[in-house]
């Protein structure tokens, strides 16, 4: 029983429904069509056609009870149509027959082949998105290509939108997408979920792409394109989809929780001038408590697997901050312990620096300073302004103003103009008063 057509706002409210359905179904439809036809461009075009049809018919016919299935049917019929009327029909049908899932024999009967290719029941449309996301994120492709392809096929951004999000001309992005698909076809990148042996490495590859997407959006300064800032939402959406498709993998949940914790602070992060507000100075009343609660639940589910990983640890650290009602009651000793684990796992000097900061908060600036000096001596973070800035901050807290000033100057030499520069300049002024 479908919704009766609405009188005045039919088109608008339908558009709203279509937009929601689009977000939920685009990737699913594209993934299924790529699986069945092996043709990425055809898949995108037929998916697009289906949504156009929805916008054309739903205002008058009403929104169908199972919108996803309706769209999938329209999209696949379109694909069959185009394949039937394509120029290299015979060869294409042989190719399709080769791709048909259930051992189809002989491409002679067109109808027979396409029926086997597209089973008639609408209800059981398997979710092929896992294949798609692993293929998009294959390490044989450059990072830029992986990101662009993921956004196009799984999040349904248009080429123009992706171009704006990454601040490049549309023609550049268009070429990037074309090249990526060509590489997949010509280099023989298989369209599948990797075998179990390769899964851990390939999964962290996928998570790296999603986290990069998130950070692109998260670090977008005020006044940039909305589509760039909404990359956060795309990343969170995709990570959410991945948790459903890979429920046994705790790192996926870890990443989702991490992103959700970060995003919960969105409203408090930036002041009127567009400068970043540090964690300790943020107005915690502006933090999204519902999002924090959700993130905590996701993280708890991950921890329950008893298989910690870098994203889970980072999420736990973010969680410590998110769950402290005031900065003063932050559980720094716990954070320091989490950084210990993270450092052991990754060996990253940036993690080592963050750990020193946490230790300084837990055990006092002198202890933290000793760790920072060790890190400095190792030469691992040369020209990394945060190393000098951290040292400066600790020296300042210890009352060693002259040394602090020298360190602030060092940090300023490494940083361009902008919010960081303003912040450090202000601190330098403080210690040289």
């Amino acid at each position: 029983m479908s919704t009766p057509p609405l009188a005045t706002n039919a088109r608008e409210s339908t558009q709203h429904v279509v937009a929601t359905v689009f977000r939920d179904e685009w990737g699913r439809i594209v993934a299924a069509l790529i699986h069945r036809t092996g043709d990425w461009d055809l898949a995108e075009e037929c998916a697009q056609d289906a949504f156009t049809q929805a916008l054309a018919h739903w205002p008058s016919d009403g929104v169908p009870p199972r919108p996803g299935a309706w769209l999938m049917t329209v999209a696949r019929n379109r694909a069959i149509d185009r394949l039937r009327h394509g120029s290299v029909r015979a060869a294409k049908l042989r190719q399709i027959a080769a791709l048909a899932p259930s051992g189809a024999t002989g491409p002679d009967e067109e109808a027979g082949v396409t029926d086997q290719l597209f089973p008639s029941e609408d209800s059981a449309v398997p979710d092929e998105r896992l294949r798609l996301i692993f293929t998009c994120c294959h390490p044989a492709m450059g990072m830029e290509a992986r990101v662009a392809l993921t956004l196009r096929t799984l999040a349904g951004l248009t080429t123009a939108e992706i171009a704006r999000a990454f601040l490049v001309p549309e023609t550049t992005m268009s070429k990037r997408l074309v090249r990526a698909k060509q590489k997949i076809a010509h280099a023989g990148i298989p369209y599948r979920v990797p075998p179990v042996s390769a899964l851990p490495q390939r999964t962290s590859g996928v998570l790296a792409v999603l986290y990069l997407l998130f950070n692109e959006g998260y670090s977008a300064s005020a006044g940039t394109e909305l589509v760039r800032k909404s990359l956060c939402d795309d990343a969170v959406m995709l990570a959410g989809v991945l948790t459903k498709l890979m429920p046994e993998e705790p790192e996926v949940k870890g990443l989702l929780a991490l992103m959700m914790f970060h995003r919960s602070r969105q409203a408090a992060r930036v002041d009127e001038q567009g400068d970043l507000v540090t964690l300790d100075a943020q107005d915690r009343a502006q933090w999204d408590q519902a999002a924090i609660e959700q993130a905590k639940q996701v993280l708890d589910e991950a921890w329950a697997k008893n298989n910690p990983g870098p994203y889970q640890l980072q999420a736990a650290i973010a969680g410590c901050h998110a769950l402290a009602p005031q900065a003063e009651v932050t559980d720094w000793p716990r954070i320091a312990k989490l950084y210990d684990q993270l450092l052991e796992m990754t060996g990253s000097p940036v993690v080592e620096l963050n750990r020193a900061v946490a230790v300084a908060m837990a055990d006092g600036p002198a202890v933290g300073l000793a760790l920072v000096n060790e890190l400095e001596a190792s030469g691992a973070l040369q020209n990394y302004y945060l190393l000098a800035a951290t040292r400066a901050d600790l020296l300042r807290r210890l009352g060693q103003r002259a040394e602090a000033a020298a360190a602030y100057r060092e940090a300023l030499a490494l940083v361009a103009t902008g919010p960081e520069q303003r912040f450090l300049a202000a601190r330098l002024a403080e210690v040289t008063r």
């Binding site: 090249r179 280099a187 990148i189």
Partner: protein, 242 residues
């Protein structure tokens, strides 16, 4: 009889230009001159470097990157294995290749046996890849390394031949034994040395036959040189493709 290898190198050709090359009458003419006479044992055009994938293994971790082993202006576009009495003869054949209109040809002697003739038919449902084994110029090999690599490579060849994943391959002489042929108008220029002075140089090659890139990556990762050098996987240009 000296077996030499000819590497056709051209500026990275666009898709459209590649189409022109495929149907170029002069290329057909060159092939007609060299194949029936037994000079040209085997060869193929390769996909452009944008379709290449490079793999190496460092500290037990497999690193896969998009692109060729070196970002040079000129990129390998194809290869032929020639059988000639000496280098001069090979250079003479190279000088007639139409690639010289747009690029260069590097000629280097093979160190190992020539390909089986005829080459086995490509298996249904597989892709062929050129695997370039590349090593840093300044690479210092201890006698122990040399032995490890030697034995490891023999074992790798045996395994991959047995699996049908390797069609044939060979080490090639070092860049100091290379000769590069170019054309400047009507003038022929033959210089000593490789076509590009890259940090890494090709030390050998293998033609792989695999179901997909993942299998090719696995085969390449198992090669002992993956630990010391770089392996580039370049798909063959399939005749039915535009």
């Amino acid at each position: 009889m000296v077996d030499v290898r000819q590497t056709a190198t051209t500026p990275d050709l666009d898709h459209e230009m590649g189409q022109t090359w495929q149907h170029d009458a002069s290329l057909t003419a060159w092939l007609e001159e060299t194949i029936p006479s037994g000079v040209n044992l085997q060869g193929s055009r390769l996909r452009p470097s944008s379709d290449a994938t490079t793999v190496r293994s460092r500290q037990g971790e497999l690193i896969v990157t998009d692109g060729p082993f070196a970002e040079t202006k000129e990129q390998v576009a194809g290869y032929d294995v020639l059988e000639c009495p000496d280098m001069d003869e090979a250079v003479r054949w190279a000088s007639k290749h139409p690639t010289l209109l747009a690029g260069a040809i590097e000629v280097r002697p093979l160190l190992d046996s020539p390909p089986p003739m005829p080459l086995p038919e490509q298996k249904e449902g597989t892709l062929r890849y050129m695997m370039l084994v590349c090593l840093g110029e300044d690479f210092q090999m201890s006698p122990q390394d040399q032995s490890e690599i030697g034995l490891g490579t023999d074992a790798w060849v045996k395994e991959m031949d047995g699996r049908g994943a390797r069609v044939f391959g060979s080490r090639i002489e070092g860049p100091d034994r290379a000769r590069t042929v170019r054309r400047n108008g009507t003038d022929l220029l033959v210089t000593d040395g490789p076509f590009a002075e890259t940090k890494e140089q090709v030390a050998g090659f293998d033609v792989l036959e695999c179901t997909d890139l993942d299998e090719a990556l696995e085969v390449a990762a198992n090669h002992p040189m993956a630990k010391f050098g770089l392996l580039e996987l370049r798909p063959f240009w399939r005749p039915e493709e535009p």
